[in-house]
Amino acid sequence: MVRRLLALTSGRIAAVILALIALLALLGPLLSPQDPLAGSADILADPGPHHWLGTDYLGRDVLSRLLAGSRLSVLGALQVTVMALLVGVIPGILSVYLGRAFEWVTLRLADTLIALPFLVFAVAVTALLGNGIPQAMLTVGIMVSPLFFRVSRAATLSVARSQYVEAAIIAGASVGWIVRRHVWTKVLPPIAIALAHTAGVGFVVVSSLTFLGIGVRPPAPTWGGILASDLGFLSYRPWAPLLPTALIMATVWACNLLADAIRDVSGEAGRALLDNRKLRGRLAVAGRGA
């Protein structure tokens, strides 16, 4: 799978960008030329030899903040993704196989989560579990999990009734075998696309929570947070929001490219699933909800 992905130009480009971003997340805070939290009298400065990308409204070095913020942003998006996979995809696949009771409970839970107002839920979780980035990411992950639940369930359902799965059952295959060998490859491409979508939404959500002081505490830099504060000073530094935006966009774009590449190598069944209008519609609707 990985080899076939890298054989595609789109797969290679996506891999390179994502590798760079991962590197940034790992080394970014170490590369910061200055303290990302240290303010100075030199506020809203234009780029110069001292501050390569200028300073923000508290006189903090923008380049340092972007680099330092990369770890939190990427980690946040990753946490959301892992959470969504755990709470959404796995129950989504299992809901088809673990019997009526499990199916009923998970479906109602998913419906409940869709109906829940996001910010109220975030505040409630913070009140219960305390304020912190893991808690915030847990919240976001759970809130986007219905999308993953539905996408993976729809894909699994369409595969579970196929004759080749029945043939495997007649050969005596267990549920685990069927999921690993027949279901997973068909469910993966639509999930990959939903994931790429969520990773993008994840950055924005991290910043919207920052506004409320949930999760990331204000002085700590994130791409979304930097973008939000830059937007307040558009008349002084109109180009400034472009920098965090470019980073967010590159990541989201690479995720989408990767999703496309996965779809291309995932074979006929996966493509057929993605061409399924119903599923696309569901993705679009769920995307709007997020």
Partner: protein, 277 residues
């Protein structure tokens, strides 16, 4: 093929019904069928007569509401899911689907599909691949097809792959659901040849079809299914030459052969009248 040998399949008074809204749909009402080792039995009937339900019940995919199913001497009627899985893993029983394209995973190569029943049994991959290769040869398919995807094969080749997959576990009983109806006439003849070969392999065959013509040439005995009941079972030749039940007579006289094309239409209509009473 002696009548006193332990039958590989014995279905007694099998009842199956499906729930349809508030009502029930009786798919099988007291159907009985016995298949001796190595015997080829044709099951014919029109759409909705319960042919596929009979096959699915024997495979454990549908729960019967009454009657008894014995496979290779063991009563499987009350088997749990786990017991069914264990039985299926032994590979005694195999099934060939009507549409080979849909019964092969489009993302798996021919080799992967062929060795699946063996891997499920827990055999090592290397041994399974060797076996698959041997069976591919038996159905006259080239080894280079092993690395193709089902979408890259012709209809006839896919059918052969499906048959080879049913053979790899060396089953005692193979159920074939309309194995030739998805094929064009040239491939149909070849597939029938293949089925004759299959019969010679020693496995008992249950050949399900709506078409008397394609069953008559290959089956030892034919069972006629009509409205969920086996209305007549007889050696193939006898059934074709001297059908007893009115429905069988109708089937025989409406078989689209050249000789019967000019057949007696009035007689067929009389038989239809009789059935509707």
């Amino acid at each position: 093929m002696s009548a006193d040998a332990r039958p590989v399949l014995r279905v007694t008074d099998l009842d199956v019904h499906y729930r349809r809204g508030t009502g029930r749909l009786h798919a099988l009402r007291g159907a009985s069928l016995t298949v001796a080792p190595g015997e080829t039995v044709g099951v014919i009937g029109e759409t909705g007569s319960g042919k596929s339900t009979l096959a699915r019940a024997v495979l454990g995919l549908v729960r019967p509401s009454g009657g008894r199913i014995e496979i290779a001497g063991g009563d499987v009627t009350g088997h749990s899911t786990r017991q069914w899985r264990a039985l299926r893993r032994r590979g005694v029983l195999q099934y060939v689907f009507q549409d080979p394209l849909r019964s092969l995973d489009p993302d798996l190569t021919v080799a992967e599909s062929l060795i699946e029943p063996l891997l499920v049994q827990g055999r090592p991959r290397r041994e399974a691949t060797e076996l698959a290769r041997a069976y591919l040869d038996r159905v006259h398919l080239d080894e280079e097809l092993l690395h193709r995807l089902p979408g890259e094969l012709s209809g006839g080749q896919r059918q052969r792959v499906a048959v080879a997959r049913a053979l790899v576990t060396d089953p005692e009983l193979i159920i074939l659901d309309e194995p030739v109806s998805a094929l064009d006439s040239a491939n149909r003849v070849r597939a029938l040849e293949l089925l004759k070969q299959l019969r010679d392999s020693g496995a008992a065959l249950v050949f399900i079809s709506h078409d008397l013509g394609s069953v008559a040439g290959i089956a030892d005995r034919i069972a006629v299914l009509y409205q969920g009941r086996v209305v007549e079972t007889a050696p193939a030749r006898e059934l074709v030459n001297a059908p007893r039940h009115p429905y069988t007579r109708l089937l025989v006289s409406s078989a689209p052969t050249l000789s019967s094309a000019a057949g007696d239409r009035a007689r067929r209509e009389a038989l239809r009248e009789l059935l509707h009473v």
